[in-house]
């Protein structure tokens, strides 16, 4: 890998306009594969979820998974696409050991959905429309593990292990039209697009779209053209960029790299590139000396797919509220700013907050926990918020305990910590750790008496009507009870003892 001096980002954007194309593959969450009855469940022993069809054995034939078609149509509709009245599968012919038939059953010039768009919202609330070229159905390949060799790629490997459990899992490939005009926000747009698409896929319930599990994979195609030019430059294709952050970084890196090459009078090679999570760079993969010839032709083993207009309209009518519309509604319901909503989205917290509200917590409390304490923990642990070992119901319970006065804020945080540490349900953590707020008057009485005795001047201030001074006494009581006292009750008792009645 040759070292290149990247052009600083702002400098690159001063001279060039980036053009992006994003190709996202989504593995559908159907129970069975796209063309056979094998299970799609993840995590099974290698080569246990296979049959003659997904192994491509001689004589085997595919049969289309109707749920896969339905999911594709629903995705298309949610992306504001037209749905084909008649379309076919096509064979994409190329050799690779993890592809059992040495052709991929895909779609070519007759995709099921085409000509749509997705509006995405950037951090500051600006809305950018990403146009969709097409969404088509295809099947996943098997999975190769190349053992030995330095790169983990097939070249130089000692041997390769093949697992065909993944072969034939339904994929929807969603391809954007060239994204122009994003300027210096291109990497941000790329990230926001993939994030929005992920929300959409999840809202439709067609896939969990977990990028870290490979259920959603993104290819970032990028080129630069001199500012003001109309003819696109040569693109690079950065493959399998598998997190939102990486999508943004890959686009950013490629902008800087292309600019460096172009500034020196060089030419961009059309090639696939690999993205490196560790340092955010890309390196050259395989050079496309000539456009690969996939020899597409209509799949003769499958009959055309011709979704009736009635069915399409029925599916359109049954679409759930789409994520952006829902966010706008929730934003107004919750009375928060666009930026706050955006950070909830970025944190992957919206559904968790809603579930917590459903479990009985007030909206502000639910937001406070998921976007505060829990978001901090998920960042620290490097796991998704939803993967933290705590449920919305448990968060709601903690919130309820606070509302009932059984916990104060500080103790509640300790309960959350206990739940995350696997110490059980909130009630159990309270009991085990002895975290209940002390609001028993007799138990507090001594501490209050001691505080009044220690600070007579403060007591006098309160008697003379300076009620705010009570804070110092409350603090002393809290300290004495190691934070377990109910602060509000302590205050009341102090006023009671001093015979004053603030409004």
């Amino acid at each position: 890998m040759s070292v290149i001096d990247l052009v600083p980002y702002e400098e690159a954007l001063a001279s060039y306009d980036p053009v992006m194309g994003l190709e996202v593959h989504v593995e559908l969450g159907t129970k069975t594969k796209m063309f056979c009855g094998c299970s799609t469940a993840l995590g099974a022993e290698p080569n246990t979820q296979v049959c003659p069809t997904c192994l491509g054995l001689p004589g085997s034939l595919p049969v289309v998974n109707a749920t896969g078609v339905e999911s594709a149509i629903r995705i298309g509709l949610a992306l504001n696409c037209e749905i084909a009245e008649w379309c076919r599968f096509a064979r994409k012919n190329y050799f690779y050991p993890d592809m059992p038939k040495n052709f991929q059953t895909s779609q070519y010039d007759e995709p099921i959905a085409f000509n749509g768009y997705l509006d995405v919202e950037l951090e500051d609330g600006e809305v950018f429309r990403v146009e969709i070229e097409r969404a088509h159905m295809e099947e996943d390949t098997g999975k190769s593990t190349h053992v030995g060799g330095a790169t983990g790629r097939i070249h130089g490997a000692e041997y390769s292990l093949l697992d065909y459990n993944r072969a034939g899992i339904p994929l929807i490939e969603i391809v954007t039209k060239p994204i122009v005009g994003a300027g210096d926000r291109a990497p941000e747009v790329a990230r926001a697009y993939v994030a929005e698409l992920r929300e959409l896929i999840r809202a439709l319930g067609v896939s969990e779209a977990r990028m870290e599990m490979g259920q959603m994979r993104c290819d970032v195609n990028l080129s630069l053209m001199p500012k003001g030019a109309e003819k696109f430059g040569t693109r690079s294709e950065t493959k399998n960029v598998n997190s939102l952050r990486s999508v943004e970084r890959a686009a950013r890196f490629e902008i800087q790299r292309h600019a460096a090459v172009l500034n020196e009078g060089g030419t961009i090679v059309q090639e696939t590139r690999h993205f490196h999570e560790d340092n955010g760079s890309t390196t050259s993969g395989r050079i496309k000396e000539e456009a690969e010839d996939y020899r597409y032709f209509p799949e003769p083993d499958l009959v055309p797919v011709a979704p009736s207009r009635e069915w399409v309209e029925q599916l359109r009518g049954e679409l759930p509220e789409l994520p952006r519309v829902r966010r706008q509604r929730l934003q107004s319901e919750w009375g928060i700013s666009a930026t706050e909503m955006q950070s909830a989205l970025n944190a992957g917290a919206i559904d968790l907050i809603l579930a917590t509200i459903d479990a009985g917590a007030p909206a502000d409390q639910a937001r406070k926990w998921w976007l505060g304490e829990l978001a901090r923990r998920s960042n620290e642990d490097g796991v998704e918020l939803a993967s933290l070992p705590i449920t919305p119901a448990q968060v709601a319970k903690v919130s309820a305990l606070v509302a009932e006065g059984k916990l104060n804020d500080k103790l509640a945080r300790q309960v959350i910590e206990g739940v995350l540490a696997g110490e059980g349900e909130p009630d159990e953590v309270v009991a085990k750790r002895g975290l209940a707020v002390v609001s028993d008057d007799s138990a507090l009485g001594d501490a209050i008496d001691a505080a009044l005795a220690a600070q007579p001047d403060v007591a006098d201030k309160i008697r003379s009507g300076k009620f705010a001074a009570a804070g110092a006494l409350v603090g002393a009581v809290m300290k004495a009870t190691r934070g377990q006292a109910d602060a509000a009750r302590v205050k009341e008792l102090i006023f009671e003892k001093l015979g004053v009645q603030p409004e």
């Binding site: 004589g59 085997s60 034939l61």
Partner: protein
């Protein structure tokens, strides 16, 4: 009882059902016959003696238990080696699959087993069904029982030869461009290519998916019909299979009456390149049908002229993709894997060693025809021709009930004669290919021996899609009239082996 191998399938089934003979006796008689003659004929690539006897015993046990037997229970059958058979070698005539034992049964195989049919073994064929002579088999040619120095047709030469050699009363073939009908014609047997989609292709090793169709072969029209009903019908495992009732072909075979039927003679099939004796027997058949009360009409199908070139673009294109899976990675042959070579090198060496010349030729043709920049001119144009051919048929069937022609322009040619001349070989399928391109139904039924060489000639009957029953009505009428005229079935004139 007389020689059990001379019985028709219908007679055999009835004799087993009444207890006149046991299924095991029938199976053993055929296994003995195979042992006696197949060294000369080479119809079989694999004889499954144990499996056949076991299946026969099961039929006998069922009968002993008083269970009802199907119309073909206990009847032996020769299965073209292109259908998968669980645990039984399946090679498609290729070195590429030598030693492969499929882990599953084709739908046709399963239906045969469910019908109590006794599968004797797997028959020889042109490699991956590509050829018209069975000379392209990686395992050596099959001899035509009428003259062992001549070809038995192809690609299903093994199935047809097994029938003509009395090694089996029933056989299964596949027909992509004539591979059931042309072997039927040159061996004096009956073969039907059913309507595309009426016999499941699940487990049929694909040559050209949009053209391949499995079908029945036998020595009589009625036996062919019985087998047709046993294997046809919708299969959810094959999405191109038709979800419609199977035409009543057995009833049609028993209703040998063409009175009032309109029969079209395809004008384009005849003339230069057609053997005189073939045309003579064909013309006699036309007159025979007229004398039986059919109305004869000459029909022009101008697009048929382009059928052969269109076929040799579509079939190779599909085969170039279908055969891509033979890459030495998962099953079958693997050559040159010395631990040093890359996967690509091993795949290349395996394909070099494992595919025969005709298969390579077609893979290259098809790869070229599908290449970007050539697709429209070749594959695209061929598909348009296909549409024109379908329209010619539609127009014809608007006027007539069936079309007839010679099945193949010549009688069986000597082994080796056309081996180095692919174009001459391809002409053997001139008359049969249009039906594959249109997806309709067609039969070849014997119509005599060509006077110049005393070899069988086939009459082809073509019916619209899903009107397969018409083939049997016309075929049975021709068969009955000719057997009357000759005083015996044609095959009785075949030399002893």
């Amino acid at each position: 009882m007389a020689d059990l191998t001379r019985y028709t399938a219908a007679e055999t089934a009835s004799a087993i059902a009444t207890g006149e003979v046991s299924a095991v006796e029938v199976a053993q008689a055929h296994l003995d016959r195979i042992n006696a003659v197949d060294e000369k004929v080479h119809a079989f690539l694999h004889v499954d003696t144990d499996g056949a006897l076991e299946a026969a015993r099961a039929v006998d046990a069922k009968r002993a238990a008083g269970e009802e037997l199907g119309p073909l229970a206990g009847v032996p059958l020769a299965l073209k080696d292109v259908f998968t058979t669980k645990g039984i070698p399946t090679t498609a005539g290729s070195k590429m699959l030598e030693g492969w034992r499929p882990p599953y049964d084709a739908t046709v195989t399963r239906r045969l087993k469910e019908a109590g049919v006794v599968i004797l073994g797997k028959t020889n064929m042109d490699e991956f069904a590509m050829g018209s002579s069975t000379e392209n088999s990686a395992y050596g040619p099959t001899g035509n029982p009428w003259d062992l120095s001549r070809i038995p047709g192809g690609s299903g030469g093994g199935s047809a030869a097994a029938l003509a050699a009395f090694e089996a009363p029933l056989a299964i073939g596949t027909d992509t461009g004539g591979s059931i009908r042309q072997p039927g014609a040159v061996t004096g047997t009956v073969g039907v290519k059913p309507t595309y989609g009426s016999v499941s292709r699940y487990g049929l090793i694909a040559f050209s998916s949009s053209l391949d169709q499995g079908g029945p072969c036998a020595r009589t029209v009625l036996d062919t019909a019985l087998l047709h009903e046993a294997i046809a019908g919708w299969d959810p495992m094959d999405s191109t299979s038709i979800n419609a009732p199977v035409p009543a072909v057995v009833a049609a075979a028993r209703h040998a009456d063409v009175k009032g039927m309109r029969v079209g003679v395809v004008k384009e099939f005849g003339g230069e390149g057609y053997q005189a004796g073939v045309m003579q027997r064909f013309n006699e058949s036309v007159e025979l049908l007229r004398s039986l009360g059919a109305e004869i009409v000459e029909i022009s199908c101008p697009s048929f002229t382009y059928a052969l070139p269109a076929y040799y673009l579509i079939a190779p294109s599909e085969c170039s993709s279908n055969l891509a899976r033979f890459d030495a990675m998962r099953y079958g042959l693997r050559v040159g894997d010395n631990g040093e070579r890359s996967a690509e090198e091993v795949t290349a060496l395996t394909r070099e060693a494992g595919f025969g010349p005709e298969v390579k030729r077609r893979i290259m043709l098809g790869t070229y025809a599908l290449s970007s920049g050539y697709y429209d001119a070749y594959y695209g144009s061929a598909q348009k021709v296909r549409t024109l051919i379908s329209r010619d048929f539609d127009r014809a069937f608007g006027d007539v009930d069936v079309l007839i022609s010679p099945t193949t322009p010549t009688t069986a040619f000597p082994i080796g004669e056309r081996a180095d001349d692919p174009m001459a070989m391809y002409l053997a399928d001139l008359c049969t290919i249009p039906s594959n391109l249109a997806g309709n139904a067609a039969m070849s039924v014997p119509c005599g021996l060509a006077p110049e060489d005393n070899l069988p000639v086939g009459l082809q009957i073509i019916a619209p899609a899903l009107a397969d029953d018409r083939l049997y009505r016309v075929g049975a009428a021709v068969e009955a009239a000719l057997n009357d005229k000759w005083g015996h079935p044609l095959l009785e004139e075949a030399p002893a082996l």
